[in-house]
């Protein structure tokens, strides 16, 4: 029996997305499964953005909090540190302070923060709300305007607030994250609703909702795999935007990244465990189709970049 290479080529292709204006970042564009360059084209490596918050990250576990101790008091300093010292290719600014249960800061305050951060960096910016459906719909409108024409990513638009957010992203020339909860059909439906408003489908980024290793990773993994297969095999344009894995915020709240070794000796060193948890979650989701990652720990980012080097 002679071996015949079982190559698979597809009619569909993931949209290529460029963000930023000064230094830009490009991701997506492949016409094969993740890193399958042996049977098609994988023009860009995935992009990893460093997460920055607009308030001191008191609730982050020690392992990752202490990395940013000297800069996390101010989002501008923090963002510059990520860009200049950590060589971040993109920054993801999470406007957590706008959440009604947190400081409940106003959309105007958020817009000012965004302007300040934009003035200080030249890498692309991802602007994230606090994931409060009502509040985000005012905050993300204000920050879209504040960042007009800077070609940012605005997120996240959800079923309950996509109309105002998508309209603002469209009017101000931004890309948009569409997030739904771990279901390929919901994800498709939201992308359709947003494009029906006249939003360009090639400016969307799909967030099928992330989960951490051990806490539902398999759901995110399979939803991503199914979305990618639909994009490639069925040439389904509503499934062809690149995908986001918002890794850091899901990983750095679970027990495995917080419980000390003295408490759970079988789990080994806490610092390495936390970093590995973030890196392994990210690496697994790269294998299922994520092209844009938001991460927190520089060592985890470094490990994932090396992993991508080996895969490309």
């Amino acid at each position: 029996m002679a071996f015949a290479i079982p190559k698979e080529t597809f009619s569909g292709k993931v949209f290529e997305v460029t963000i930023g204006t000064d230094r830009t970042a490009v991701f997506g564009g492949e016409n094969v499964l993740p890193f399958h360059a042996f049977e098609g084209s994988v023009p860009h490596r995935p992009v990893i953005a460093y997460e920055v918050q607009d308030i001191v990250p008191d609730d982050w576990p020690e392992t990752v909090k202490k990395v940013y101790e000297s800069v996390s008091g101010d989002p501008v300093t923090w963002a510059k540190y990520c860009q200049d010292t950590l060589n971040a290719k993109a920054i993801a600014l999470r406007l957590l302070s706008t959440h009604p249960d947190r400081e409940n800061r106003s959309p105007e305050d958020a817009a000012k923060t965004v302007k300040d951060v934009l003035a200080a960096i030249n890498v692309p910016l991802i602007i994230l709300g606090s994931n409060h459906v009502e509040k985000d719909s005012s905050v993300l409108v204000a920050v879209s305007e504040a960042a007009k024409d800077k070609n940012c990513i605005i997120g996240k638009a959800q079923e309950g607030n996509y109309k105002t957010i998508a309209a603002a992203a469209m009017a101000n020339n931004h890309k948009l994250i569409a997030m739904s909860e771990l279901d390929i059909n919901l994800s498709k439906q939201l992308n359709i609703l947003i494009t029906q408003m006249g939003f360009d489908k090639e400016k969307l980024i799909t967030d099928p909702m992330c989960s951490a290793l051990g806490y539902g990773l398999e759901y995110t993994y399979s939803v991503m795999e199914r979305i990618r297969l639909a994009a490639l095999t069925q040439n389904d344009a509503t499934m062809q935007p690149p995908m986001l894995a918002d890794v850091g915020m899901y990983v750095w709240k679970i027990k495995e990244t917080q419980a000390s070794e003295s408490e759970l000796p079988l789990w080994g060193s806490l610092a390495e465990r936390g970093i590995t948890w973030e890196a392994t979650t990210a690496a697994s989701l790269l294998m299922s189709g994520a092209e844009l990652l938001i991460m927190r720990h520089p060592e985890a980012v470094k490990a994932v970049e090396k992993f991508i080097d080996e895969l490309m």
């Binding site: 079982p6 290793l213 060592e299």
Partner: protein, 446 residues
């Protein structure tokens, strides 16, 4: 390719003798077609039928068992490329490499670490499954000695004997033949000798060649020499090569029924950079390795890899729900707090994990909301005040506890008044919105 139940039925004795444990030959045939029964159960089947059925029913990836006894690991038998299609069958084995050039102390330390690697996670016992002993010293005597000493120190742990020197292989495999080791391996230069050793000691054989063409030719040759329990290595070592080779092997076996590559795959990920090694191992777990060979087994690395393997090999068709009941976490007394959440399995895992984390013994009422999370269930009208009240009343919990206080998730704070109206005498307390707020919340109550 696979036969249908009716096609199989035609080959059976049609006596309906029930010796196979099924009421009729047709019922047995149907079970065979679904691969839920083995033809061995039929005492009267003809040799001809055995041959035809054997060929047709052979799984696209041959089942191989690594080791013997309680800790033996089943490999192969996979049927799909993507886990959403159907459950990945046999979780990959993690093996750690021990070089016989290491000092005895170093070797003993690794063996101890393997023996102590077992972790219980969500009811499953997970561990480093095997030891890969390599003949780095090139000294056959040293190799045999190290293999023997590992086998006596860790008698139940499956062994992979790694050498391409037939003389060294013969002595080492002979010493541990009763443990059904995997001999790795055979290459183009030593195939006959290695196949002979594998046959003599009934060991399975790791076969290695550069590239899939050469590998297919070599497995065919070795099969011709009478060894069928084969594990394959394509020579891929970088992440890029591993992804390509493992993808092509799995596709060829599953989609093309290409028998020459229809064997479990052994993937080598050893690196100096342990963090990177973990990620390449993760690639092995997600992309079709049956054995992943590691250079080290730090506890943090094991935990991440065990968890990933468990996630990837979970059955995607089992509803994501847990049983409706009141779970005890820790050893709650009648005074311990009572909390409630929905029966989405992830919600349950996260909430119960955080309660455990708090070290405060608790009762956790898990309500059947058709596997929806708290907010979704509330929005869908499945986690409402009247349904919660009904569940609490019918659960009989009032007879077990000495207080009448129910802690509800912060996301459904809006329900607290309505629940109190419907549960006379009860006090409803609003807990944190996210489960990770539970430890602080519960400790402050205790």
């Amino acid at each position: 390719m696979a036969l249908t139940g009716v096609e199989i039925f035609k080959l059976l004795p049609k006596t309906n003798c029930k010796k196979c444990g099924h009421p009729t030959c047709l019922a047995f045939a149907m079970k065979l077609a679904q691969r839920q029964a083995s033809l061995d159960a039929c005492p009267d089947v003809s040799d001809e039928a055995k041959r035809i059925l054997g060929e047709a029913s052979a799984p696209p990836i041959r089942p191989i068992t690594l080791g013997a006894g309680d800790k033996a690991v089943k490999m192969g038998e996979e049927t799909v490329l993507f886990r959403h299609e159907k459950k990945f069958v046999n979780p990959c084995a993690f093996a750690v490499e021990i070089k016989d050039s290491m000092s005895d102390d170093e070797i003993n330390k690794i063996v101890d670490d393997v023996l102590n690697s077992e972790i219980d996670r969500v009811g499953q016992k997970l561990r480093i499954d095997a030891i890969f002993v390599s003949n780095a010293s090139n000294d056959a005597g040293r190799f045999e000695g190290v293999v023997k000493s590992i086998a006596s120190k860790a008698p139940a742990v499956p062994l992979i004997i790694a050498t391409n020197n037939p003389a060294a292989a013969d002595a080492a495999v002979k010493a541990v033949a009763d443990k059904k080791p995997l001999l790795y391996g055979a290459d183009e230069s030593n195939a006959e000798a290695m196949a002979n050793i594998a046959k003599t000691y009934k060991a399975s054989l790791g076969v290695t060649a550069k590239g899939l063409d050469a590998l297919s030719a070599l497995t065919e040759k070795i099969k011709g020499l009478g060894v069928e329990d084969i594990v394959i290595d394509s020579g891929a070592r970088s992440a890029k090569e591993i992804l390509e080779a493992n993808t092509y092997i799995r596709r060829a076996a599953i989609k093309k029924n290409f028998k020459a590559l229809g064997y479990p795959v052994i993937t080598f990920v050893q690196r100096d950079d342990k963090m990177l090694e973990t990620l390449v191992a993760a690639l092995g777990v997600t992309k079709y390795a049956s054995i992943v060979v590691l250079s080290s087994i730090e506890k943090w690395k094991n935990l991440a890899l065990f968890t990933l393997r468990q996630n990837i090999y979970t059955d995607p068709q089992v509803p994501m729900q847990v049983e409706q009941k009141i779970y005890k976490i820790g050893e709650p007394t009648p005074e311990s707090p009572l909390t409630i959440t929905t029966n989405f399995s992830l919600t349950y895992f996260i909430v119960s994990g955080e309660i455990e984390n708090s070290k405060v013994p608790c009762r956790l009422a898990v309500m059947d909301c058709e596997g929806l999370s708290v907010l979704t269930a509330w929005a869908a009208g499945k986690f409402t005040a009247s349904k919660i009240a009904q569940f609490i009343q019918e659960s009989g919990i009032e007879n077990e506890i000495k207080h009448k206080e129910l802690i509800i998730p912060g996301y459904v704070a809006i329900l607290s008044g309505a629940i109190e109206d419907k549960l006379p005498g009860w006090k409803v307390t609003v807990g944190p919105r996210e489960a990770n707020g539970l430890p602080a919340f519960l400790r402050s109550k205790a």
